[in-house]
C-alpha cells in the first residue's frame, strides 16, 4: 500500500476493485463500511455482487478480466470532463500525452460493452472518483491474477496520478496483501530477480555488496519463477525443490501439472507445520514452528514491520525455519550462526536500505512502517509524498486485451476464483477449526439464476465443472451475487479444488502471475 490502513477513514472516495474486502481483509472491510457510514463515497468494481456492493454509490459488475478497460474508461471520462489534476500532472509526472492519446478510444459506450456494465455508471463512477478531494484505490487479486495483471495495476496507478490522488493522506494506490507476511517475503528477496530490499540480482554493484556482506560469491543471473520451476522440473533440468510453508498442490494453478512436475524431481524437501498435499510428495519433511511458537516479524499490507512473539513451545522436535536453514548452511560450510531472530533482523537492517533503521528494540508498540532508513527515522506512512522513487511519475498507458481464455462453444462459462471469510488459503490452519468447517464445510460453485435455469440446475445439485486442464465435482449455489455466464469457485478445498481447472501456462508477461481469475469452463449436472 502506498498509504496506511487508518487512512481508509480519511478518504472521501474509496474505489474498491477486484477485492472482496469484507471477506478477505475483514477488518479493513469494516473500516470501509464505517467510512461510507461517515459519508465517504464508494465505488465497487467486481464480477460478484459482494457485500461492499450494497454500500456502494456505484457498483460496476464487470465481466472478469476487464478491469483494465474500466480504468482506461474512467480516465477517458475524467479527461473529457476536465476532472484531472493539471498541476500534479505538470509537476510530478511525465508521458501524459501518450496516456491522453491512448484513453481517447475508451469511450464509456465502448468500455460498457467490454465490461458489460451501464455506460452511465462508468460516467458516474468517474465523476465521483475525479471529484473526490481524497480518492483512494484499493485492489487485490481481482486486478492482478490476469494475463494483463501488471498492466491493470499500471492503469490504476495512471488513474491515481491523473487526478493527483497519490502521496497525500487518504489517497493512494493500495493493494491489499492476501497473506500475513507476503510483504515480508517479497521484501526479503523471496523473488528470483531481487535480493532483500528489491535490489536487482543482475546489478553488479548490488551483487558485490551482498558478496561482501555474506562473504561468498553469488550468481548474477535471475533465477526461475515458480511456474518456470515447474516447467523445468518437468523438463528434468531442475532436480531439487525446497519448499518452506507452501502448498502449491492446492494453491497453484493446474494441479495436475504441478503434481507431475513435483513427481519429476529427484528430491523434494517440504518444511511445514502439517502434512500438506505437497508434503505428501516429499522425500524429506521437516517439522517447523508455527507463529505462536517463535519470535520474529510479519510485515503487513501497509509495510508495517510488526513483532510476533513466542507464546508456547513447539510440539515435539519442531524447529524454527530459520534455525533449520542455519543448521543446513553450517553443514554446507557456511559458518555464520545466529542466537535469535533479533540477530537476523540486525543483519537484514545492514543489507536492506528500507529496513536500515529497524531493530527489535524499536518494534515494541506499533512496529515501524518501511522505508525506515535510519535508527531515528519514524517510518513512512505514505509513499511518494514529495517525489516518486524514480523522480517523476511515469504514465504507462496500457491497452486492454481480452483474457487468454474466452468462452467458446465447448467451455461456455467463465470461471473466476477467490476466497471465503471462513477459510484461509489451503485450509492448513483453518481446516483444523471445527466451527469454521461447520460454516464453510466444502467447495461449491456459484451460478447465476439465469445460467441455472438454462442448465436446469438447482441449489445443492452436484455439478461437474470441466476446463481444458481437468474437471471437479462441486455443489451448486445458485445466487444472484453473480450474473450471466460467470461462475465462481473458492480455491481453498483440496476436494473440488478450483485449481484443478485453472491454467498455469497463461502468465502475466511482467510478473509471471497466472491468470487464475479467468478460466473457460463447462458446467453440467453430475450424474
Amino acid at each position: 500500500m502506498t498509504n496506511s490502513v487508518d487512512e481508509v477513514l480519511k478518504s472521501d472516495v474509496l474505489f474498491v476493485t477486484g477485492s472482496n474486502t469484507t471477506e478477505n481483509h475483514p477488518v479493513i472491510g469494516s473500516k470501509m463500511k464505517q467510512a461510507v457510514t461517515n459519508g465517504a463515497k464508494l465505488i465497487v468494481a467486481d464480477p460478484r455482487e459482494i457485500e461492499l456492493a450494497h454500500y456502494a454509490d456505484v457498483f460496476l459488475q464487470i465481466k472478469p478480466g476487464t478491469s483494465l478497460a474500466l480504468s482506461n474508461g474512467l480516465m477517458h471520462v475524467i479527461l473529457e470532463e476536465g476532472l484531472q489534476d493539471d498541476g500534479f500532472i505538470e509537476e510530478r509526472t511525465e508521458n501524459f500525452e501518450a496516456l491522453r492519446e491512448l484513453v481517447k478510444d475508451y469511450t464509456p459506450e465502448k468500455v460498457a460493452e467490454i465490461c458489460e456494465v451501464d455506460a452511465n455508471d462508468i460516467i458516474k463512477a468517474a465523476r465521483i472518483y475525479g471529484e473526490g478531494e481524497r480518492s483512494a484505490i484499493y485492489y487485490c487479486m481481482g486486478i492482478t491474477q490476469h494475463s494483463t495483471g501488471t498492466e491493470s495495476v499500471m492503469s490504476i496507478a495512471n488513474l491515481a496520478m491523473l487526478t493527483g490522488n497519490i502521496g497525500r493522506e487518504g489517497t493512494g494506490v493500495n493493494p491489499l496483501r492476501g497473506q500475513n507476511n507476503v510483504q515480508g517475503a517479497c521484501d526479503m528477496g523471496g523473488l528470483p530477480n531481487v535480493y532483500p530490499g528489491y535490489q536487482p540480482v543482475v546489478h553488479p554493484e548490488i551483487k558485490k555488496k551482498f558478496e561482501n556482506a555474506w562473504g561468498v560469491e553469488l550468481s548474477d543471473e535471475n533465477g526461475l519463477t515458480l511456474p518456470e520451476m515447474m516447467d523445468n522440473a518437468l523438463r528434468k533440468s531442475l532436480k531439487m525443490i525446497y519448499v518452506m510453508g507452501e502448498n502449491p498442490m492446492v494453491s497453484d494453478p493446474d494441479t495436475a501439472h504441478i503434481r507431475k512436475a513435483l513427481e519429476s524431481l529427484d528430491f523434494l524437501v517440504v518444511q511445514d507445520i502439517f502434512m500438506t498435499e505437497t508434503a505428501e510428495l516429499a522425500d524429506v519433511v521437516l517439522p517447523a514452528t508455527a507463529y505462536a511458537e517463535k519470535d520474529g516479524t510479519f510485515v503487513n499490507t501497509e509495510r508495517r514491520v510488526q513483532r510476533i512473539r513466542k507464546a508456547i513451545d513447539a510440539p515435539g522436535e519442531a524447529k524454527n525455519d530459520w534455525e533449520i536453514f542455519m543448521n543446513l548452511m553450517n553443514r554446507l560450510g557456511y559458518e555464520k550462526t545466529y542466537q535469535s531472530a533479533s540477530e537476523i533482523m540486525d543483519e537484514i537492517a545492514v543489507v536492506t536500505p528500507q529496513y536500515a533503521g529497524i531493530d527489535y528494540s524499536r518494534l515494541e508498540g506499533d512496529g515501524l512502517q518501511w522505508p525506515c532508513p535510519t535508527k531515528t527515522h519514524e517510518g513512512t506512512k505514505i509513499l511518494h509524498g514529495e517525489r516518486f522513487a524514480r523522480g517523476l511519475g511515469l504514465f504507462k498507458p496500457a491497452q486492454y486485451r481480452p483474457s487468454a481464455e474466452v468462452a467458446d462453444e465447448e467451455y461456455p462459462m467463465i470461471m473466476t476464483t477467490g476466497r471465503v471469510l471462513y477459510q484461509y488459503h489451503t485450509r492448513t490452519m483453518t481446516g483444523k477449526t471445527e466451527g469454521l468447517n461447520n460454516l464453510a464445510p466444502e467447495s461449491y460453485i456459484e451460478i447465476s439464476p439465469e445460467a441455472a435455469v438454462r442448465k436446469n440446475i438447482e441449489n445443492g445439485d452436484l455439478i461437474k465443472v470441466s476446463s481444458r486442464r481437468g474437471s471437479i465435482t462441486v455443489k451448486a449455489k445458485v445466487t444472484d451475487k453473480i450474473s450471466g455466464n460467470t461462475v465462481f469457485i473458492p480455491f481453498h478445498w483440496a476436494e473440488g479444488a478450483a485449481n484443478v481447472l485453472t491454467s498455469g501456462s497463461v502468465l502475466d508477461e511482467y510478473s509471471k502471475i497466472p491468470e487464475l481469475k479467468v478460466s473457460a469452463v463447462n458446467i453440467e449436472k453430475a450424474m
Binding site: V5, N181, L224, I241, P287, Y424, M429
Partner: protein
C-alpha cells in the same frame, strides 16, 4: 487548553476532552461499563457518574466535556452512593454464579462489586429468564447475565457494521437479541467475535475448548497469522497452550475477524508435524534431525556436483516470518548458489 481540578488535583487538558479522559491523564481511574473510546458516546450504564462543582445531578464522566474552572469529585459520598446503588440494581437481575462463571477474574461487574463492597443485591424482586443461545459455533449469548451496557450492539453497528444484533423489548425486559429473536445462527452474524471481546460480563463469551481461569493465563502480544492486515492481538496461554485470543491496540483498532479471534485450534492439533520424516521404501518415516540433515546435505552435494546450482529452486513462504524468509533466500543464494527463489505472492 482548559484547566480544571479533579479530586483537588489541577489538570490542564485540550478543549473537548471528557472528564474521564482528563482524569486518566493524572492517573485517576473512573469505573466504566459502557464506555469505549472507539464508539459514539452512549452513557447508558451510569457507573462513571461524578460530582461536578457540587451540583445536584451527577453527570457521567464518559460524555461530559471539561470546562474552565470545573471542579470534579470522582469518589465523593453522593457518587459512591449512586455507584453502589447501580451495582446493587445490576446484581438484582444478574445470577451470582461467580464461582463457576467463565468470566470470573475478567468480569468488570465482579471487579466493581469488589471495589465498592457490594456482596449481594438488596432487592428480592423479579428477574428475567432467557434461554441461552448456543447456536453460534464460537460463542454463546447468555442474556441472564447481560447488564445492557450496549457495547456489543454498538461494536456490531458502528465498527464491524454487520448489524446482526440490537436491543429488543424495553424497560426491564430490554435485552440484546437478533432480529425477530431468531438466534445467532440465523442472523447476519459473521462470528467476528468483536462483541464478545467488549462484553464486560459473561453475557457474550467464547465457547471455551479448554477449562481455564483468566488469572491462570499469561498474555502474549503478537500479530495475527492470517491475512495481510496484521492485526495485533494477545494470545492467552495456559499450560503451554493458547486458550483464547483477544484483540489488541494496533492497525486493527482492537478488532479481529472470525479467523483471528477463534481459529487457533491448529496450534495444538494432534496432526502437527513433530519429527522429521524421511521417505524410505516409498513411505515417509520418522527420523532424527541428524538423519534428516544428512539426507538433505548428501542430496544437495550430489545434485550440485552433477548439475550445478541451476538445478535447485526454493519456495519461500508468505506465511513464515521475515527472518525465516531472509534465511531461506540466503540459504539458496549464499549456500547453494542460485537465485531461483520464489513464493506464492501471486496466489
Amino acid at each position: 487548553m482548559v484547566t480544571l481540578s479533579i479530586n483537588g488535583q489541577r489538570v490542564e487538558v485540550e478543549q473537548d476532552t471528557t472528564v474521564l479522559e482528563a482524569a486518566a491523564t493524572i492517573g485517576i481511574k473512573i469505573p466504566t461499563f459502557c464506555h469505549d473510546p472507539r464508539l459514539k458516546p452512549h452513557g447508558s450504564c451510569r457507573i462513571c457518574v461524578v460530582e461536578v462543582n457540587g451540583g445536584k445531578n451527577l453527570p457521567t464522566a464518559c460524555v461530559t466535556p471539561v470546562y474552565e474552572g470545573m471542579e470534579v469529585e470522582t469518589e465523593g459520598e453522593e457518587v459512591v452512593t449512586a455507584r453502589k446503588e447501580i451495582l446493587d440494581l445490576l446484581l438484582a437481575d444478574h445470577p451470582l454464579e461467580c464461582l463457576t462463571c467463565e468470566k470470573a477474574g475478567e468480569c468488570t461487574l465482579q471487579d466493581l462489586c469488589y471495589q465498592y463492597g457490594i456482596e449481594r443485591t438488596s432487592y428480592d424482586g423479579e428477574r428475567n429468564h432467557y434461554e441461552i443461545d448456543y447456536s453460534n459455533d464460537f460463542y454463546y449469548s447468555d442474556q441472564n447475565k447481560c447488564i445492557k451496557c450496549g457495547k456489543c450492539v454498538m461494536v456490531c453497528d458502528q465498527l464491524q457494521e454487520t448489524h446482526a444484533i440490537g436491543f429488543a423489548e424495553r424497560g426491564f425486559e430490554t435485552h440484546i437479541a437478533t432480529p425477530m429473536e431468531r438466534g445467532l445462527s440465523e442472523s447476519t452474524c459473521v462470528s467476528c467475535g468483536n462483541c464478545v471481546s467488549v462484553c464486560p460480563v459473561d453475557a457474550l463469551a467464547p465457547k471455551k475448548k479448554t477449562k481455564f481461569r483468566y488469572w491462570e493465563t499469561e498474555k502474549v502480544r503478537t500479530t495475527c497469522s492470517y491475512c495481510g492486515v496484521g492485526c495485533q492481538m494477545d494470545l492467552l496461554v495456559k499450560d503451554n497452550k493458547v486458550v483464547e485470543v483477544q484483540p489488541a491496540e494496533g492497525v486493527n483498532d482492537r478488532m479481529l475477524c472470525v479467523k483471528g479471534k477463534f481459529a487457533f485450534d491448529f496450534l495444538s492439533h494432534p496432526n502437527r508435524l513433530k519429527m522429521p520424516l524421511i521417505r524410505k521404501d516409498g513411505r515417509l518415516q520418522e527420523a532424527s534431525w541428524e538423519e534428516a540433515y544428512d539426507t538433505i546435505i548428501g542430496k544437495i552435494n550430489s545434485i550440485k556436483e552433477e548439475n550445478g546450482p541451476g538445478a535447485f529452486a526454493g519456495l519461500t513462504s508468505a506465511r513464515c516470518s521475515t527472518e525465516d524468509n531472509y534465511m531461506m533466500q540466503k540459504f539458496m543464494r549464499a549456500a547453494i548458489g542460485t537465485n531461483s527463489v520464489d513464493h506464492c505472492a501471486r496466489l
